[in-house]
Point group: C2
Chain length 866, copies 2
């Protein structure tokens, strides 16, 4: 087993072994780009170390050999007084985990050779600054000495010397460094003077960082396998902090917020890499290099262009200029806002850099989700009170209560609150708070700060560098431009403009542009599974069709009974003996309902579910309403109360609902079917040829389906005779009880189509009531007993087995049986992938999830082709 | 296809083709017994007729040939004036359906040859009596002319002639017969004079009777396949009504009530068969023949003994003596009371007539159930007021409200009432009422009347021939020995003694005798599946062990918290912060509980389920109780109400219960496990080596089981260390959610045993709440959508699939995994058969069902051996 690869030995395809960073460093080296030489210790070595808990001898030998080669390549050496070799040690896993693991710079310095470095660079303060940084990072990363212990030494000495640390003299640095050694001693450690020992410790620390808490949380959130491990990149140092012709920067080949095809980035003169990322100093725009170091800038532009073409995607580059000479330290596919992702994906196709398939694969479901995220209503925005402005770090609009810590954010969100996390700056420790918040506001940091990168990745609205916000965390207050806000105050944050407003502003959806339409059309052309929507109101049906739904997978009919007159008729039907009068009223309402719905959906299929909820859901509650209803229906209060008592249920979810109502009170289903068929006939007469699809819910036994279907068919035939017309129609069943899956072959014989109701199926399979799950799901997720909420992400291991069984059994009887999925998981990408695998014909989801579903089914089709 | 078999052509093994009656007539013919000659039309011919709706030509030819053979065999002929052949036409299906289908006697008579019969027998009134009976039966069976139309003619003429029909003269019979012909005309029918035509009509009518309402109800109740059809037996008539040396009788080779090994039966001088069965005349005991016709009696005794030995079971015989000569008309295995069934089964083994296996197979689960039926408490019986006495037709004791019609019986039972059906006599039309009643009382009829036979078959307590009861059905009153009782009055009926009492008498279980113990021991020796009981109270545990439970499959722990002090401690734990104080109290109660339980079960396995119900079940309801609890626990009413509101659930069945409580509040499970282990340790120290089996309920995910099991193990290890002892224990899981079945392989890796909770599994699989199912299950059963209540009989098609899957998945990981079933279907015979087939180790049921389960598992073992 080879544990160490020089940059000259690897390439971009070796990400799983060398990590993303290492593979790309090797690739750039292969392309002849100015990459400081170095080598990568493999992910396999990491896992072997983590499993055995010890550092293999052979690994140590390989590393020593690689260091010797590096010394040869650079003409420098550890401990050399003339050509001192310093290295950076950086983690780099297969999948990018920004800031999640540890980095050590300037490794190789010690009490002796810091002097050599000072002499070599002719810059005492630079050398000592490097050394004090090494001591800090090494102490933190290798020995877990709290950063604050070093910080408080800095603060103490800044006070003593009455100057900022960046202005310390050599002597002052020596005193500071002495105090750092004392910090080590207090913690019962000693800083190793031997560079090889430093390296060994550092590599082990990076290995161990794979299993630190925040890395684990990140992997769990991003579903990255714990068994991958991280590689370690050892690279000879170049110094962006070596004077005014030096600096370090981060750049994107296109604008990561807007997608504009123009270099975008930031640069800090006389700084090391982590100064940019940490957001401690606010950097200059990239363009500023053009005036300071025009040659370096030109070279950088060329390299950026080359890398984008090479990787066929927008790149995120880290670079350092050391005394006028450009070095590229990293390239990777850049994270971007959803808007930018869409524009870049489509532009790369237009520019013939990428294929449509690649464009589709590049888009993330979260990006689409973000595009569908709300913006502030323009007219409301005009009336709003502007509080402050910062950098527009991640687009979108959000409203929430101010919180100052990630922990508090998590707490309030657990109670159903929406929060805006307001912090000086964010760090990887805040990851769970960032996830929980609706929006993020930071006082410091630029467009590439931690907060900005993470927020864009998650599609969370974010404003950074809002320096007007003076936070007093301990007091839980923030002063912004003379306003004093405390925890719990509501603010509105516009991540697209960087503006922050007092109070709540109404939001609306952003308009979907041509790029969006193009991408969606490419998706539809490639997809094998259709995307329907769950919708029944005119508004929802319009939204669904606007978002490109190819049909309606679930039109519920119960909401149609909640208008005042309808509810009265429904109650009359339930509570009185004037049932036919009540039904006559209901039928006239329903005929209009279905006529209007068909008018919108036209030739697109629409599956109408017959009445599903238990009758008590339509009855009044509370004395006043009971009295009102009794009076309206000429009943006594006692009669209404008796009916209420008779219809009350202990477990309504498992009660008298769905087809069970169709069995015990057939006239309500007959009324609905009459309305459906009559309204469809009206359309046929007007030239619109509609095939109504009628769905019977909550079937457990074939006998139920046979009985109710027969009754409906008889009713339909009566209508056909009365109207002297016959039109095609279908009667299918919802599969939403475990038993329905188990006897799906029997059901298929009697059904024109199946539609999985995954919500109820999940409730029954788990024995989870959605109304009550809140009492324990928090504990369950915290203790890792449930990875996902099974109502959001299909439980493939359990519920999925039943679904797959039902598909197989159904198709064993009817090979061409139309099978769909409605329910919330119908819009969830990994769930959709599973549904496609087992052969469903369509997924149906809420209108707002239709575009995500269209993307996902297209991606699945591409994956299955390749 | 041969449609007709002469009695000389068949044998006892041909029941499916010839029906039970036909096959046994053939067998007796083969044995050389005095059976009047005849032939059988097959069940296949019946089904072919019912399917095609027409009488096949070939069938007609075969029948005509058989009649000619019959004429040859008897030396008689249709329409002969010297040797007139008359036949009976009787249905006879594969499985006995007593009285459910139709019979016609004396077929072949007509206006002409009735005179020949009169001359031949030298008995005018005999001949005309036969003819008028034929006209009545034929009119009823073939043309569905209401019996009452004939009866009212009889009544009219009895009034006119001022005498009973049995005393009519030839002339009076002629007038009656003339009036019967008019009844035919009024109904637009003519009685066919041609005997061949009579026969054709009669056979078709018997075929059609297979599908009459009461036959269908009977088949559905007894799970007899509708596709079997009935055979038709055509047999030359012998006449029990031909004078004082003639008669007809019914006999059992042993006493069908007590099982005593002594001929038991009844006999009517000068009567035809249906006179005995209909119960219109009260017959004499069988022994009375001995004095009247000693030779015939001797012959009958010999034949009875021979047939019992031949069939190796108690026989039920029908016979006729025609002018001193004995004919056997039917033999079949006799229906018997449970007590008799048990005694006969055991006696036949003792007498070496039958094997133990045959004895076990002969016993029905219903018999065992009946044996466990109550008797009146002796001391209470002494104080009771005797109302009247009748014949002890079917043993047992029951209490109920008087009803006078089968219909009313059904109605009241549907409302949860217990009823006693009081009737003059019963007929097959009453079958549903007989099923519904707790007890049956008839004014007329003997021990072999319809009511008596049916009641014994069903194990319903029955008193017949209680002639003191004068019923006025229209007024809904009954006068008994000067007492006037009306519908709804409560009486107590003792079917073992034939006594009827006013009011309600307390009942208790009958003692189980040596026969019972013998049979049960044979069962246990043969069985492959063990029988455990669901029990936790000391009383239930004792009952279970007395009934031979081999272990305890489910000891619930929630009932243990309902004592006053325990409930207080439980509420303290739920509602207050003094949780450890509450737990300390609970643990001391529970340690005593488990100590006592183990003391009873000793070395038998006992599976203890940890707390299962949601917390709100322990909380107070109603203002007064809430106030009381608040005061007791030093809380405010508002605080208690807030807790109640916080713990309330929409669907408690799918809520925060079972292991979900173990996850969110681990201390309650730890308390229980501590009590279990500590009490077991106490027993070990006292010499009783107990292996506690701890069961975690409501597991859906392996992760839940792993977490909670680990917590319990840690607790147990802590106890072992503190107590300086280690004892064996097991931790298993309940499989009661569909998902648990689907991931049973994952669960098996982490469980020492599985126990299926079929009640909850059925609720979830069907989406049926047991608390709410009452709202529609009636409709479902009436409409035939559900054949059985799935909570009583395992739904093999649906729930059974999940159970089988879980067994296979569990054993795929642990081939020797102990798997049991608790839940009500654990005591249901067809369900047990399924469980045995799929390989469960034990079934566990309520204590009173343990003996039935022991019988059933033994039967299954025998079936699987053969």
């Amino acid at each position: 087993m080879k544990n160490v690869y020089r940059f000259t030995e690897g390439n971009a395809s070796m990400k799983s072994l060398l990590g993303g960073k290492g593979a790309n460093l090797a690739e750039m080296t292969r392309l002849g780009l100015p990459v400081p030489p170095g080598f990568t210790v493999t992910t396999e070595a990491c896992m072997s170390f983590l499993e055995t808990g010890s550092y293999q001898k052979t690994l140590q030998t390989e590393i020593e050999q690689a260091i010797r080669d590096l010394e040869l390549a650079t003409g420098k050496a550890f401990n050399s007084s003339t050509h001192l070799l310093l290295v950076s040690v950086r983690s780099g896993a297969q999948f990018s985990m920004p800031g999640m693991m540890d980095t050590i710079l300037n490794l190789g310095l010690n009490d002796q050779n810091v002097k050599a470095l000072a002499k070599l660079t002719n810059n005492d303060t630079f050398a000592y600054d490097c050394y004090r940084r090494l001591l800090q990072m090494f102490g933190d990363v290798v020995f877990s000495i709290p950063k604050s212990q070093f910080d408080s030494q800095i603060a103490k000495h800044e006070l003593n010397f009455d100057k900022n640390v960046s202005d310390f003299s050599k002597r002052e640095f020596e005193i500071l460094i002495q105090s750092f050694h004392q910090v080590y001693q207090i913690n019962q450690y000693t800083f190793p003077q031997n560079p090889y020992l430093q390296l060994e410790y550092a590599i082990q620390a990076v290995f161990n960082s794979w299993n630190n808490h925040r890395a684990k949380v990140y992997r769990s959130l991003n579903q990255i396998d714990d068994a991958l491990g991280t590689a370690v990149n050892i690279q000879s140092m170049v110094f962006g902090n070596s004077g005014q012709t030096s600096g370090t920067g981060v750049a994107f080949t296109r604008n990561p917020s807007t997608g504009e095809n123009k270099l975008f980035g930031e640069f800090l003169i006389n700084a090391q890499g982590e100064d940019v990322v940490a957001g401690l100093r606010t950097p200059q725009p990239l363009e500023s290099i053009r005036t300071i170091l025009p040659e370096a800038f030109d070279e950088f532009q060329k390299i950026a262009h080359l890398l984008e073409g090479h990787y066929r995607d927008m790149q995120d580059l880290e670079f350092t200029i050391e005394q006028g000479k450009l070095y590229i330290l990293q390239t990777r596919n850049g994270k971007r806002s959803a808007k930018a992702a869409l524009k870049i994906a489509v532009d790369l196709v237009t520019e013939k850099i990428s294929t449509k398939e690649a464009a589709i694969l590049k888009m993330r479901a979260e990006d689409i989700n973000q595009l569908l995220h709300p913006i502030f209503v323009e007219s409301e925005l005009k009336k709003a009170t502007l509080l402050a402005s910062g950098l527009p770090a991640s687009p979108g609009a959000a409203v929430g209560k101010i919180v100052f810590t990630a922990e508090r954010a998590k707490e309030l969100v657990a109670f159903g609150e929406k929060v805006v996390l307001v912090r000086r700056e964010t760090s990887p420790e805040d990851i769970e708070g960032l996830l929980a918040a609706e929006a993020i506001v930071t006082t410091y940091g630029g467009m590439t700060s931690h907060a900005a990168v993470v927020a864009r990745g998650m599609g969370t609205c974010c404003v950074t560098g809002c320096e007007a916000a003076k936070i007093e965390e301990a007091q839980k207050i923030v002063r912004i431009n003379n306003q004093l806000l405390t925890e719990g105050d509501i603010i509105s944050v516009d991540g697209t403009t960087g503006r922050i407003y007092i109070g709540e502003i109404e939001t609306e959806l952003s308009k979907l542009d041509e790029n969006f339409q193009s991408l969606m059309q490419w998706c539809d052309a490639i997809a094998k599974v259709k995307v329907y929507a769950n919708a029944e109101t005119i508004l929802d049906l319009r939204t669904a069709l606007d978002f490109g739904a190819q049909g309606v997978g679930l039109a519920r009919t119960e909401h149609m009974f909640f208008g005042v007159e309808r509810l009265r008729a429904m109650r009359q039907w339930i509570l009185t003996e004037q049932k036919s009068e009540a039904l006559a009223q209901l039928i006239s309402f329903q005929t209009v309902d279905f006529y209007q719905m068909f008018k919108l959906t036209k030739d697109k299929p629409m599956i109408i579910r017959l009445l599903d909820p238990p009758m008590h859901e339509f009855l009044p509650h509370g004395n006043r309403e009971i009295q009102k209803v009794a009076k309206e229906l000429s009943l006594t209060v006692v009669e209404v109360e008796q009916s209420l008592a008779a219809l009350a249920e202990v477990n309504p979810m498992l009660g008298h609902r769905g087809v069970r109502i169709g069995v015990t009170a057939p006239d309500i289903y007959q009324m609905q079917v009459t309305a459906i068929i009559k309204s469809a006939i009206k359309h046929w007469r007007e030239g619109l040829r509609i095939t109504p699809k009628i769905m019977i819910p909550l079937i457990a036994e074939a006998s139920e389906l046979i009985l109710v279907k027969q009754q409906l068919i008889e009713q339909i035939q009566t209508i056909f005779q009365a109207e002297s017309i016959e039109i095609p129609y279908e009667i299918g069943t919802m599969i939403e009880l475990p038993r329905a899956c188990l006897v799906a072959n029997d059901l298929a014989e009697n059904a024109d189509f199946f539609s999985f109701g995954t919500n109820d199926l999940t409730q029954m399979t788990y024995g989870f009531s959605r109304d009550d799950i809140g009492k324990f799901i928090g504990d369950y997720q915290e203790k890792g007993l449930l990875v996902n909420d099974p109502f959001q992400v299909l439980d493939i291991d359990g519920v999925g087995q039943l679904v797959e069984m039902a598909v197989q059994k159904g198709r064993s009887v009817k090979p061409n049986l139309s099978i769909g999925v409605c329910g919330e998981v119908g819009g969830n990408p990994p769930s959709i992938a599973f549904f496609q695998k087992i052969g469903v014909n369509y997924v149906s989801c809420s209108p707002y999830r239709v575009p995500i579903a269209r993307l996902t089914v297209a991606k699945e089709a591409i994956h299955r082709l390749s």
